[in-house]
Symmetry: D2
Subunit: 342 residues, 4 copies
């Protein structure tokens, strides 16, 4: 069978490294190009020594564009820049899987509010499909432009969507408290991210107005079937490399029980290979999804306050970025959905 050819744009960060790791063991896809403006011309092993010995080199994004010999492009680029590449790629007929935030928000107003700049290509927003396979699998099968879900949003939306859809919980008063490992900040060279500053430290950041907030709210509103949802989302930085834990508090609707919560999750995800529902009253642990494409979900019912409490863990670089992009790509190209991801 002919393998699909994949170009990875902006591959010198942690999501890029993870994309390469996964694509190298993908038996239905092959790497057609790996771009990095800064590292063009260098072997990939210069930046990621783990790939020493493999015949992989960075090329400039322009060279990749002019070659154009690929079926799919995964964009691990900063927001804004992703759009600049998406437009000509789509014109060439290349399927685009964007890991940046450029096409996630359906509302250009929200984009402007949170990114402080007008949306660079509003006409593409309608076309873009949100890259959360468990929720949008059908649409992904024919999507040309996929806005892969963010890491915090994935860990928040997946456990919550079925309960909102089934009216077991209220869309009002939702609180999401998340902790992320340090690769979540990207491969950023800045004082707050050096080892002695992060190690033995845990702290909240951006507890008001984090850029993932409108994305989470948008998808929760879609799931609940309401025009708008307002939540509190509080991210924390924790001293580990990979992993996000989200603890989610929701107001139970009348009649909601622990069993109904479990049944709703089971109905939604019982056949999913990348979602794992824990037995009732067990907490998810990032350890158990480390370097996997899995989302692990635990659920509780707190009689004391009438809340449903969900805990959910993903690997931010896999299910929260590279793995999910590949899962979307597999769906789009009718490959085994788990290829490269087992």
């Amino acid at each position: 069978m002919k393998k699909i050819r994949v170009a990875v744009f902006g591959a010198s960060g942690y999501a890029g490294e993870e994309l390469l790791r996964l694509l190298l063991r993908h038996d239905g896809a092959e790497i057609a190009a790996i771009t990095s403006r800064k590292n063009a011309g260098e072997p990939v092993s210069t930046v990621f020594p783990r790939f020493t010995g493999l015949p992989l080199s960075f090329i400039s994004p322009d060279e990749a564009m002019s070659r154009g010999d690929f079926d799919a492009a995964i964009l691990a680029l900063p927001h804004g820049l992703a759009t600049e590449f998406a437009i000509p790629l789509l014109k060439k007929g290349v399927k685009v899987f964007d890991i940046s935030a450029d096409f996630r928000l359906k509302s250009t107003a929200k984009y402007q509010e949170y990114y402080k700049t007008p949306h660079p290509a509003p006409e593409l927003l309608k076309e873009a499909v949100y890259g959360q396979p468990e929720l949008y699998r059908e649409q992904l099968k024919t999507a040309n432009l996929v806005a892969c879900a963010g890491c915090y949003p994935t860990s928040s939306i997946l456990p919550t969507a079925p309960l909102l859809r089934d009216k077991l919980v209220s869309p009002e008063g939702i609180v999401v408290a998340s902790c992320s490992g340090c690769t979540g900040a990207g491969r950023k060279v800045d004082l707050p991210y050096i080892f002695p500053e992060c190690n033995e430290s845990i702290k909240a950041y951006a507890p008001v107005g984090h850029r993932h907030l409108p994305e989470i709210e948008q998808e929760m509103a879609f799931a609940a079937g309401v025009p708008e949802v307002k939540i509190n989302f509080i991210p924390h930085l924790a001293p580990l490399n990979r992993g996000i834990n989200s603890t989610i508090l929701l107001n139970a609707m009348p009649g909601c029980t622990l069993e109904k919560v479990g049944a709703s999750l089971e109905k939604a995800y019982g056949k999913e290979q990348f979602v794992r529902i824990l037995p009732a009253k067990r907490c998810a642990d990032t350890k158990y999804v480390f370097m996997t494409n899995c989302c692990e979900i635990g659920y509780f019912f707190d009689e004391h306050t009438g809340k449903v409490i969900l805990t959910s863990c993903i690997d931010n670089l896999t299910k929260g970025a590279a793995g999910q992009a590949i899962q979307c790509m597999n769906i789009r190209f009718q490959l085994d959905e788990a290829a490269g991801l087992r």
Copy 2:
């Protein structure tokens, strides 16, 4: 000036180690006895090599009781056992500073509900003063029995109490999401606490019904002047040694503003040497309270949802246990409140 003599009961855990570290540099107190049933007769350095060379040995608690040559006893014992020692110590006129949970809850019903056993000495509960110096300093000056505040409660109650007292926030719908370092579990030798299980892992635990919940609720109710408060308290275990971060969400009352929140905290703690109010919109960090007796508090106002968001950090072994006990002791004996704690 004559130094007060202090006995440390149950000194072979991390709180015990911290008590010794602090007492050794306390210029108004001296160590009269260090007990450990298991290690009686051994030099303290057998258990804590950092004390090698110091003339300190464990004795059995019974021997300490029969000697009785001390003014204060700090109990770092399991709950239940603490009461067994507190009763005879109080009879001898020794001031008791209990780090266990035995005397924290005013309600014997709550004690029974959360500890699954009747309270061992209900008659002492009225006498016990809650050991949170910033809130109960006056009562501590004459207390014979001090129920030192727990670690999670300290990090939750200190930032919240002034806002509840000043009616800036509602006592309803409070959410506390906390992350604790691994010494919070004590020096417990059990599979979930070995390094490879904790490292690179973050997870919630006991999101419903944690034993610190009723303690937090009790003190929040006192601060709000209401008979009962029901909150959600979700602890998480994070891969660091020392430190608790609590992120607290509260419903703002009409008229509440960011400035009023700051003013309320400033009024309550502006003169406190162990509470540090950050400038508005900055997050607390466990790193900045590491091995100190300080509680650092940050505050935000979320217009989007009408919530006040507080972040608070303490060192769980210092302000959350040993340091706070010593601070209480200093107040009781009219010593410099910061002796041993700078």
Copy 3:
């Protein structure tokens, strides 16, 4: 093609978990039995939640023995116990890959000296092939009993053997200083291994007479073609989960140069897929072999003291245990040597 059937004995530790992880993605082998005396009857996911959803359960070793429906057995058992199972398994014609130390030492006297008990089956020692594929590939092709190389030995012997063989370095005065992550101690529940004791700590242990010493010396002697080698081997425990770094100092023989060292390593391993020789004067890093079956080797020539300095990194659970066992098994059964290990 028919898959070979593999039984994993003693699968409740970290090496067992890694064996399952690797075997599950092995396309030429299938898991026939997973034993654990303690956990017999339980789903594997009870012990390793990452395997939730997979139809895997522990059975007792006795049940596995009575079934006997497998071609290969990998023993992740304590030393001594491994022999008890190896004997009847070999009689049944099952190929045995032992991760314990039982069959590594050719000298029963050394075994007795380091393990304080007579060797339980000296007659098998001649038959056993040392499980270091890069050095014993030919013998492994027909071996019935494979004594898989230990973790520290693998990281020490692989970089050193070619230089000893090529007489570029002296077998006298060798020093190996190694640092291991905490999974190296196994899934041991003991005070020194709880998180707060290991985190922020680095220390040597057993600097004289570690049990891996005679194994390293034996293989160095074989490589050098001398009857005996005496070295210093100093292991350290470092606060990470997985990975061993070994720094090895060797006395250069007259005529030895940096280039000759590089050429010797290149000649030995240039075609190996699981050994990576770094460019001259670069240090190996555990990060780059994390969760891979690779051994990364760096080399230096110190003109100042006339020493060759090698640095070598492996993942102790993969190349140092489970991965190497599977590599040996693949060779024995004429499978793709890298199956399950890419």
Copy 4:
């Protein structure tokens, strides 16, 4: 009693932070100036939030020089720059305690070889006293310029010097393998030092020609009474914040025994308050010197190879930098040697 006034030059790094922490609890010294070119004019708490609330601000080094109202200056400056300040400070009669490497090497040739530039003030080298109080206490009492010992050198020289002096070990063939926490690299903002690169990683670096090598060799030669010593010194970077472990292998001289090694160390350091000799055959642990000014030393005799093996731990920021500078200062000003350091 009048306190001595101390200026800290270059206080915006980790050694600077530690100097402030220690000086703030020093009862015989007060901080007269804290300089930082980059942060001049800012409160110290901007850089180190733990000092929030204290009336401390950075001034420019030039302003500090023009004020000149201090008795002692501790220089935490880059090498080269330290000399530029030391010269005028000495002229003013200020006692200088230099944490940089500028005055450690007695040989200008070695300085040029390792620092690739001629020594900026060779005439001062004779005057400079090496700042290792346990070895040079007498000279420090009258020193005007103190070249505080480096971190790796302190951990290597302290355990070794007595044995070389007492001819129990040979000055030939010494190997020092050290592991350092990440603050050892300073507060350097560079890709190799961000959390995800350091965490779960252990590696050697600069195994040939590290800049601390000639310093260690110089002091070992002095101790042995020989003109030159050549050793191997291999530093490693380990994923912890603070702490150095050095494992040192030395060739025993004829007649050397474990007991003699212990007696030699005891004779040298039995009365030292900042050196702790462990019982024979126990390994030092960075955990037990964390945030203390102590050097912990363990010792072994390896009959197998005739080596003495020493393990030694210090906190690199305290005994390896700031604490040792203060200890030297205390000696120079006839203060309690442990003031600020208990």
